[in-house]
């Protein structure tokens, strides 16, 4: 059996581990555009900040490929897929044949059409190379404009803050982290950012990037008419599934590559996982692209198992994030901003003095989402309640309590929890 994996991040690593759980003999070839051994993508902001050095960037130990008997082709891009011939064409002209193929090509940063975005000094921030480049530039940067106050923009901001750079974040929504928090939650974080000297410009976007005679970015004009001087623009609006490889193939795509519960695509022996795949979202009961690391790893592992013939179902995913802004920890999951009129119930605890905010979103006596600011300990209990669809009515009024725990569960559920082992 010859397994070919395109990609080298969480989904690819999950796939390798999934395959090796059942098949110790099959040949695994891993092809990755980036020249590095698997590294932790979320650590690029820590690397930029100088909090993590190159030695600790690995997502797995250096021995990983050897212990899992993986042959790697690093710095090699897969550019074409022939599902009839069962082969992948590489950028250097070579082709590799597969028996089972995993596409784990992740996401590509979305760059909107902005006049002047081809200027030198305009970049995105999603790879280690981006972080390395920015780190080299940072001593010379005085003013940086980050377009996008979502997770990527805020992570880039954090990495730059460590260098004392003057930062302006331009966000189209009325708040930062709009997709993972609500207005109240963000108000805690935004106040802190202002104290730290970060400029936030909301409800607008960049209309034009100005260049000097040498083609370097020197300023931006916003949609609201404001002008900002800058020497570096970071476009951090979001990522899109990197589906280029399958564009001219019969593999079915929607926003991402469409997969079933076993991570199988529409084509035989072709699987997809991670930020490129559109897999089941347990809260919306439909396939969605949820580009977060835990889902990527899990999907990769499911794909790897399936590829060996051990079909284990993907349990489905949901949005969830853990982020710290200005030293304030925040965790959220599921449906955080429910529509007003669709039968959702919301419970809140707001304690501004102690910097604590806890919000629970309930639908049909099931927890479907939460936001925790400041007091985030034991957040996973809520994530578990969502995932397991537990009827929370017996302890509904305790959900936002600071000491909420397994003890609040009814006796039978509690006993089951503490005497058994979670899958």
């Amino acid at each position: 059996m010859k397994y070919v994996i395109i990609g080298n991040s969480a989904a690819a690593v999950g796939c390798v581990e999934g395959i090796r759980k059942y098949d110790s003999d099959g040949e695994i070839l891993l092809v990755s555009k980036e020249p590095y051994a698997t590294y932790s993508r979320p650590l690029i902001s820590y690397y930029l900040a100088g909090q993590v050095d190159a030695r600790h960037m690995g997502y797995r130990p250096a021995s990983f490929y050897k212990t899992h008997r993986v042959t790697t082709l690093l710095g090699s891009e897969a550019v074409g897929l022939d599902t009839k011939d069962k082969s992948v064409r590489l950028s250097d002209g070579r082709t590799v044949a597969y028996d089972k193929l995993l596409i784990a090509t992740g996401g590509v940063p979305f760059v909107p059409p902005i006049e002047g975005s081809d200027a030198e000094g305009v970049m995105t921030f999603t790879t280690w190379d981006d972080a390395k480049r920015l780190k080299r530039l940072v001593p010379r940067l005085k003013k940086v404009v980050i377009l996008g106050g979502g997770l990527i923009g805020i992570k880039a901001m954090e990495g730059l803050q460590a260098h004392g750079t003057d930062i302006t974040v331009v966000e189209l929504m009325d708040r930062i982290l709009g997709l993972v928090l609500d207005k109240t939650a963000t108000s805690f974080l935004e106040r802190k950012l202002k104290e730290e000297g970060v400029h936030l410009v909301k409800e607008t976007t960049i209309k034009k990037i100005h260049k000097d005679n040498a083609g370097r970015a020197v300023g931006v004009t916003l949609e609201n008419g404001r002008e900002l001087a800058t020497d570096q623009v970071i476009i951090a609006i979001g990522v899109r599934p990197n589906i280029g490889l399958v564009k001219d193939s019969p593999v079915e795509t929607n926003r991402g590559i469409v997969v079933d519960y076993f991570m199988r695509t529409s084509e035989a022996d072709v699987y997809a996982a991670g930020d490129v795949a559109e897999a089941d979202d347990i809260l919306h009961h439909e396939p969605r692209v949820i580009p977060i690391l835990p889902n990527a790893y899990k999907q990769g592992k499911v794909a790897g198992s399936s590829m060996t013939g051990n079909e284990i179902e993907y349990p489905g995913g949901m949005v969830m994030n853990s982020v710290e802004v200005g030293g304030i920890p925040a965790i959220s999951a599921g449906i955080m901003n429910p529509p007003d009129d669709e039968g959702y119930e919301v419970k809140r605890l707001i304690d501004r003095k102690n910097g604590v905010y806890r919000k629970m979103v309930i639908r049909d006596n099931r927890l479907v989402g939460f936001i925790l600011i400041g007091a985030i300990d034991r957040a996973g209990i809520y994530t578990g309640l969502i995932r397991e669809g537990v009827n929370i009515s017996p302890f509904k009024n305790h959900l936002t309590d600071l000491d909420f725990g397994v003890i609040c569960f009814p006796k039978d559920l509690r006993t089951y929890k503490i005497s058994n082992v979670y899958m």
Binding site: R60, R378, G384, V421
Partner: protein, 147 residues
């Protein structure tokens, strides 16, 4: 594998399991030094939950499919062998709290004493039985293989 299980009916809520967990993970292994002079003092990796007359001690369940390992973005959380305990490498951990976000037992604590790292039960590696079990005065904690 062997795990720690709590008996809610006989737990007295004395929290000696928490105390002995701290001692077991201290540098000196001495109860007085661990609490009086050592820095940093480890966090207890077992926590007693209490509500009225009910209490029990809870720690990492060393899940078969651990959500914490799946969610760990740095590879700091790992399983020690195919059937071994779920362990954690403080060197590789950056305290992103992804594990805190997904542990359905709430059994991973945030240690922010020096640098931000996750703190969790390691089943007292190298000991015959975990310290919390060995020191429970009521035998409300047992260390056994339930499959």
């Amino acid at each position: 594998m062997k795990r720690v299980y709590a008996k809610e009916e006989i737990c007295a809520g004395c929290r000696l399991c928490e105390v002995w967990c701290v001692v077991a993970h201290s540098k000196s292994g001495d109860i007085v030094k661990a609490f009086n002079s050592e820095f940093p003092r480890p966090l207890p990796r077992v926590m007693v939950e209490e509500a009225g007359p009910f209490s029990f001690a809870l720690q990492c369940r060393h899940c078969m499919e651990p959500p914490c390992i799946e969610a760990c973005m740095t590879g700091a959380m790992f399983r020690d062998g195919a059937e071994g305990p779920v362990l954690h490498d403080p060197e590789q951990c950056v305290g992103c709290w992804m594990c805190v976000m997904v542990c359905p037992y709430g059994a991973i604590a945030r240690d922010v004493t020096i640098k931000k790292i996750a703190s969790k039960c390691d089943l007292c590696q190298g000991e015959e039985e975990p310290s919390c079990v060995a020191h429970c005065p009521n035998e409300a904690l047992v260390f056994e293989d339930r499959g």
